[in-house]
């Protein structure tokens, strides 16, 4: 005799639960965690390096780098003299809360203010897996083209701020900034937007200022009281 059992459970509920644990641990340690997502080659590692160099006297910073294989990214960040942990996903296309859970014990959380998490380069899967970080940031870049908000709405909708990197090569590409921004604005009204170039440093200050403001708000709220949008 066949019968139907109602379930109605999110498949990723186990991941969500783990994300809550990550969040609690980061809150308790007073570490603001920011997840950087982007397509491969958009400049995530370059952005982290530029951010570390600019803010290292103000905040104690560390990095977590997700990649399919190799420790190239974490090595680049560690070379700056800050703690860096490489997560090799072994073929998986995104970081999830379990992977971040495994990386946290390898970091001196009590001695940190800011954790920059570099997700696997991919505009699709990372947007579906919560990590338990406080802010999600998208690093777009000019050579990818201006149609990406329209092709990957899930990614553009779920972030708290967005950078457009490689502005120094804008003239070499047919990149219509108005078209790009229109798509972003409809998906995510009022989203903080920072056109910049990690290579020349142009525009970087506005991003750093946003990060400083988030860090101050996080500190003022005492971690757990900090609002997640």
């Amino acid at each position: 005799m066949s019968r139907t059992v109602a379930v109605v459970e999110r498949i990723l509920s186990a991941n969500d639960q783990m994300a809550l644990e990550n969040r609690s641990e980061l809150d308790a340690a007073g570490v603001l965690a920011v997840n950087l997502m982007a397509s491969p080659g958009a400049g995530k590692t370059s952005l982290i390096m530029a951010t570390v160099e600019a803010l290292r006297d103000e905040f104690r910073i560390a990095g977590v780098d997700g990649d399919l294989a190799t420790s190239i990214d974490a090595d680049r960040i560690a070379a700056l003299g800050v703690p860096a942990v490489q997560i090799n996903t072994g073929g998986a296309c995104h970081l999830d809360a379990v992977m971040l859970r495994g990386a946290l014990p390898q970091l001196p959380l009590a001695e940190l203010d800011l954790l920059l998490v570099e997700n696997v380069g991919n505009l699709i899967c990372p947007s579906g897996f919560r990590l338990g970080v406080h802010r999600n940031v998208l690093v777009a870049s000019v050579p990818e083209g201006d149609d990406k908000p329209y092709k990957y709405p899930g990614m553009y909708q779920g972030v708290d701020s967005m950078l457009l990197n490689k502005m120094d090569v804008l003239d070499a590409f047919d990149f219509d900034i108005d078209y790009f921004r229109r798509g972003v604005e409809i998906l995510n009204p009022g989203l903080a937007f920072f056109p910049l170039s990690c290579k020349t440093g142009e525009g970087l200050e506005a991003w750093l200022s946003w990060l400083r403001d988030e860090a101050s708000a996080f500190r003022a709220a005492g971690g757990a009281g900090y609002e997640i949008r």
């Binding site: 005799m1 066949s2 019968r3 139907t4 059992v5 109602a6 379930v7 109605v8 459970e9 999110r10 498949i11 990723l12 509920s13 186990a14 991941n15 073929g91 998986a92 296309c93 995104h94 999830d96 699709i124 899967c125 947007s127 579906g128 149609d147 908000p149 329209y150 092709k151 709405p153 899930g154 909708q157 229109r182 798509g183 604005e185 409809i186 998906l187 009204p189």
Partner: protein, 111 residues
């Protein structure tokens, strides 16, 4: 390339809800187009991960949910055409995502 882990989660949730049944014969999944889940890959892994469990041989049924926006101005629903996001009814530029991110196990059939 994350369907193996996802399929294992599907199995764990189904087994937890099996409610003392001898066999699970069907799983009804709801999958949004923005959820980055490929039905065929899940089905492929399903045969492997379900082996030796009471869910072995169960049919996976996928209900796909298309991405749907709602215009905040005229409140009509529409599916994005992949080129522009403006509301096709009124040209409104304020929209919200109302469907497309779903990924859940709705129910199972057991005997």
């Amino acid at each position: 390339m994350h369907e193996l882990a996802i399929t294992q989660s599907v199995l764990e949730i189904a087994l937890r809800h099996a409610d003392g049944a001898g066999r699970i014969t069907r799983l009804n999944l709801v999958v949004g187009d923005l959820s980055s889940v490929v039905d065929d890959s899940v089905s492929f892994y399903w045969d492997i991960v379900s082996q030796g469990t009471i869910a072995e041989g169960a049919t996976l049924h996928f209900e796909r949910i298309r991405t749907r926006f709602r215009c905040n101005e005229c409140e009509s629903d529409f599916e994005p055409d992949g080129r522009v996001f403006e509301c096709p009814q009124c040209g409104g530029q304020s929209i919200q995502l109302v469907a497309g991110r779903e990924f859940r196990l709705e129910s199972i059939e057991v005997e």
